[in-house]
């Protein structure tokens, strides 16, 4: 009888362990499985959904903005502060806390033919021009890192730099732009924060960029 009780207890314990394991995950796993893009975000960040971002982007009056929006396959943003709105993700002003923006978009015919590593570097700001002619550069522009990243089905450039936004606030950007091997699709991950915030949480924010993984279409 004693052995029987022990067996029952062991079974119950094993099951309880199994249930306990399933309480919560350590990170947020943002992913678009169809295009094969994955990124791990620290737990507790706030998500801005694709629909909000699409809505904000649709207000843009820039040339070709509507065409670009139509070719977006996946976009998602995460911020440390719940107050940050979708529109703030899409402009260059330093957000409150930190913000992560992931985007996958198909390129049009013209882009396919013209895309290069420099194009990828100049995704947000004309970095190559600033580097070539420091006189024309942003006053607080500092290139922190720039190296090539190779994924299973894509390759591109990861660039980390600092610049001053329109209000003169120093902002650090960790941008990874990868182009698929057939040049038909671009995978973008931008992590940005005020430089002061960035420096305080550099390890956490670098880990986000490191986790960006592209496996391609399933």
């Amino acid at each position: 009888m004693h052995a029987l009780s022990k067996r029952i207890s062991a079974t119950v314990l094993a099951c309880a362990l199994l249930v306990l394991t399933g309480c919560s995950q350590s990170q947020i796993y943002a992913a678009d499985k169809a295009s094969g893009a994955y990124v791990a975000i620290p737990k507790g960040w706030n998500k801005i959904a694709k629909s909000d971002l699409d809505k904000a982007e649709s207000k843009s009056t820039a040339g070709g903005a509507a065409e670009k929006l139509a070719s977006v396959i996946w976009q998602e943003a995460y911020t440390t502060s719940p107050k940050v709105k979708a529109e703030e993700i899409l402009n260059l002003q330093a957000p409150e806390g930190a913000a992560v923006y992931a985007r996958v978009r198909d390129l049009n015919f013209e882009e396919i033919n013209s895309v290069s590593y420099n194009t990828l570097r100049n995704l947000i700001l004309p970095l190559t021009t600033w580097l070539a002619d420091p006189a024309k550069a942003n006053p607080k522009f500092v290139l922190i890192d720039d190296y090539e990243r190779t994924e299973k089905v894509a390759r591109g450039i990861r660039t980390i730099y600092t610049f001053a936004d329109a209000a003169g606030v120093s902002t650090t950007v960790d941008q990874t732009a990868l182009i698929s091997d057939d040049h038909s699709r671009i995978y973008i991950l931008i992590v940005r924060a005020k430089t002061e915030y960035y420096n305080k949480h550099v390890d956490e924010l670098l880990a986000i960029g490191d986790s960006f993984t592209v496996r391609g279409d399933k």
């Binding site: 029987l4 119950v12 094993a14 099951c15 199994l18 399933g22 309480c23 990170q27 796993y29 499985k33």
Partner: protein, 753 residues
């Protein structure tokens, strides 16, 4: 010491303990499922850590945890029932109550209720699963399902087509395989008539009767009878069974379906059954369209049997007889008595009729299908009849009377299945035996009418007499061979000599053209002459057909005899004459060669011993009465041996072997006496044989009587001087025989011969 039994369930206070495996097997299954799902999540997302994968699975697959929970509760329930008797007792009472409530329902109601509950559960489960698939509420998902089914219809259609394609392939293969082997002839397709079948008038009359009933069934049906449905023609090969069937096809005004012997031999199982069904479908159609049909199975033994031994109805067949020919002893016994004797013979002698032909036929099911078609259920047929009428609430029509006459022919009736031959399937069995003399005459006349010949009526009569076992096929072949011989001689007309030579050629085969050395030729001639003289003198029931010393494939010489009349009984004196003829060779060789004899007598002695054995042990022609065959079967011992009480009885009741030997010895002495009295006739006949090699029976008589024969002039053999010359030649041959050299004298030649 009493044997302790395992306690019954009703005697237990607690539940029987589960094994460890039974306790954990479902939890193990759920655990493995959980880890497989976690592994799948990790494979789905390369960033996912193991612990996060577990968490994710736990969060997303709640149903699995619910199942785990249910299983834990169940196991706890079992554990408590194993430990606590009161707890177990409560449940037992509850289950008993449920059982009582359920038993209040009748079995049929319980089945219907159960069926409804099962369907409801199935629909509920389906709606839950569909809800999960469509990400909708279960009820809504249930209504979406038909739409999905409708969308998937083309796909289902393709799948069904693929399935049907495979089925159609099979059906097509079997359809093609089940073709062939069956030919249909319509009236006037065949020109053979009953008048073309000769010598089997008694069978033809019965067949004509069957055809009459087939064509005018009302003759018998209005009186409450029915048209006989099957005929079996059986008998030796070449007796005209197939010709008879062909003539039936020619005579009848109904379609005639001919089934090949090989029609039911198939490569694949089941094709034979399809063929039988196809054949009878065709027969029914023809029977309805033309008011009747005749189907003929040639070589019906190819249908095989199912291995059942059967006391044959063909007890007059010499090979399968229980009581022997011709006097069927069974006729004088009661039915149980017959049965006893028959079974004893079959089991005791391991003599199972048809045993050698077990199986065979068209394979599994073919014979059974045939049996069913011949006399099976009278099923309503036709789609409209069976389905449409029933759908309208009408009863299907009874099948019409299909008038199908089944005719089978075989020379191995014992190979047929017993069930095939029962009345209702094969109602009538006719033996197509060797034609009678009148039949043979008619057959000879028929075939001779087709060629040019010079045979007289007397010669044809004689020809029929000397060919007692000639079938239509043999007669046809003999006449054809005679024609070939005539043509080879540059003639177109057949003569008596041609026919006789053709008969000898067919009976004996072609001679080997071996030339004996002189002393051996003389020895063979003396041997055959002894047989010939003895046959001429003592065997009145047989006539000598021919005598020859031309070597054949398995004999050195031969004296062939034939029965001059169709005789059905045999007598002791006849058998004794047979033995005398057989042992004449031994007696003669010893007499003419100073006690020496050749090994050529072995066959003669074998025949003589066999006949003597049967005379003594079977036919009541010896010194005792009891049947040796019966004694052996019943293990009662033969009369004789050492059990006799005094010498006189002992002599009488000697062992069977001794009695046979004594009988043979006394007949040998008698043969010696007869030959000694006729030794010049023997040497005369031997001289005729040495001179002419082969002579006819009439020539033998001519030599014996000193007359002129067809080939041999016997007159010189009545002159003493000639006989002396023959005797001297014989003496010289005997000397040569002893010295193994050529004789001093050459064989004498007589002018008249």
């Amino acid at each position: 010491m009493t044997i302790q039994s395992r306690p019954r369930d009703t005697d237990r206070k607690t539940r029987i303990q589960l094994s460890v495996y039974d306790r954990i097997k479902f939890l193990l299954l759920f655990g493995i499922t959980f880890f497989v799902l976690a592994w799948a999540s990790m494979a789905d997302n390369p960033l996912l850590s193991f612990s996060d994968a577990l968490s994710k699975t736990a969060n997303e697959k709640v149903w699995l945890l619910v199942l785990v929970g249910i299983e834990i509760v169940r196991q706890m329930h079992f554990a408590l029932a194993e430990i606590l008797a009161p707890y177990h007792g409560i449940w037992l009472k509850y289950f008993a109550l449920v059982e009582r409530l359920l038993n209040k329902l009748s079995d049929w109601n319980r089945f219907r209720l159960g069926r409804v509950v099962k369907w409801l559960v199935f629909v509920a489960m389906l709606s839950i699963v569909l809800g999960a698939v469509y990400k909708e509420t279960p009820v809504r998902a249930l209504f979406l399902a038909p739409k999905a089914l409708w969308t998937a219809l083309p796909m289902l259609g393709q799948l069904l087509f693929a399935v049907f394609f495979v089925i159609i392939q099979f059906a097509a293969i079997f359809w093609f395989l089940s073709r062939g082997g069956v030919d249909t002839y319509f009236p006037d397709d065949i020109r053979t008539r009953f008048s073309d079948v000769w010598g089997q008038d008694h069978v033809l009359n019965r067949i004509r009767e069957n055809l009459l009933f087939l064509e005018t069934p009302e003759l018998i049906e209005k009186h409450g009878g029915y048209v006989p449905g099957g005929i079996l023609l059986w008998g030796p090969p070449g007796t005209g069974k197939t010709l008879m069937a062909e003539s039936m096809a020619g005579e009848t005004g109904k379609p005639f379906v001919f089934v090949d012997p090989g029609a039911f031999t198939n490569m694949f199982m089941g094709v034979g059954v399809l063929k039988v069904k196809g054949l009878f479908r065709k027969l029914r159609k023809l029977a309805l369209r033309y008011g009747g049909v005749v189907v003929f199975f040639d070589e019906a033994d190819s249908l095989g049997n199912r291995g059942i031994s059967r006391p044959s109805m063909h007890s007059s067949d010499k090979n399968t007889s229980v009581f022997g020919t011709p006097c069927n002893g069974g006729n004088y016994l009661s039915d149980p008595g017959k049965s006893l004797v028959t079974n004893e013979i079959i089991s005791g002698n391991k003599f199972v009729m048809g045993g050698a032909a077990v199986g065979g036929g068209g394979g599994s099911g073919t014979l059974q299908a045939l049996l069913t078609e011949l006399s099976g259920l009278k099923k309503p047929r036709g789609f409209i009849n069976r389905v449409v009428r029933r759908a309208l609430g009408m009863r299907p029509k009874n099948p019409p009377k299909y008038r199908i006459l089944v005719v089978m022919a075989t020379n191995m009736p014992e190979a047929l299945d017993e069930a095939l031959l029962r009345p209702g399937r094969i109602d009538r069995m006719y033996r197509v035996g060797y034609p009678s003399k009148a039949g043979r005459i008619r057959t000879y006349e028929g075939y001779l009418a087709k060629v040019s010949h010079s045979l007289t009526t007397e010669e044809i009569d004689k020809l029929a007499t000397i060919t007692p076992y000639a079938t239509g096929a043999i007669i046809k072949d003999t006449i054809n061979e005679a024609l070939i011989m005539a043509i080879r001689d540059g003639r177109t007309s057949i003569t008596w000599t041609d026919v006789i030579k053709a008969k000898q050629l067919k009976d004996l085969g072609p001679a080997e053209d071996v030339e004996y050395i002189e002393r051996e030729r003389h020895a063979v001639a003396v041997h055959e002459a002894c047989h010939g003289v003895m046959a001429h003198l003592v065997r009145q029931h047989m006539a000598i057909d021919l005598a020859t010393i031309e070597k054949g494939s398995d004999y050195l010489g031969m004296v062939a005899s034939i029965p001059p009349d169709d005789q059905f009984t045999r007598w002791r004196t006849e058998y004794e004459a047979d033995i005398l003829v057989s042992v004449a060779s031994l007696a003669g060789e010893r007499m003419f060669f100073d006690g020496d004899n050749s090994s050529g007598v072995s066959g003669d002695l074998e025949s003589a011993t066999t006949i003597a054995s049967f005379m003594e042990g079977h036919w009541g022609m010896g010194s005792t009465i009891s049947s040796h065959a019966s004694n052996r079967r019943n293990e009662v011992g033969a009369p004789g041996g050492n059990r006799g009480k005094d010498d006189a009885t002992k002599d009488l009741r000697m062992a069977l072997g001794d009695r046979i030997e004594n009988n043979l010895a006394s007949l040998l002495v008698k043969a010696e006496e007869i030959l000694n009295e006729n030794k010049f006739k023997v040497l005369a006949l031997a001289h005729a044989l040495e001179t002419h090699k082969t002579i006819s029976g009439d020539d033998v008589i001519a030599v014996m009587n000193g007359e002129k024969g067809p080939l041999v002039d016997g007159r010189p053999y009545s002159i003493q001087a000639n006989l002396d010359a023959i005797w001297n030649y014989h003496l010289a041959a005997v000397v040569a025989h002893k010295k193994h050299e050529r004789p001093d004298l050459t064989i004498p030649v007589f002018e008249a011969s």
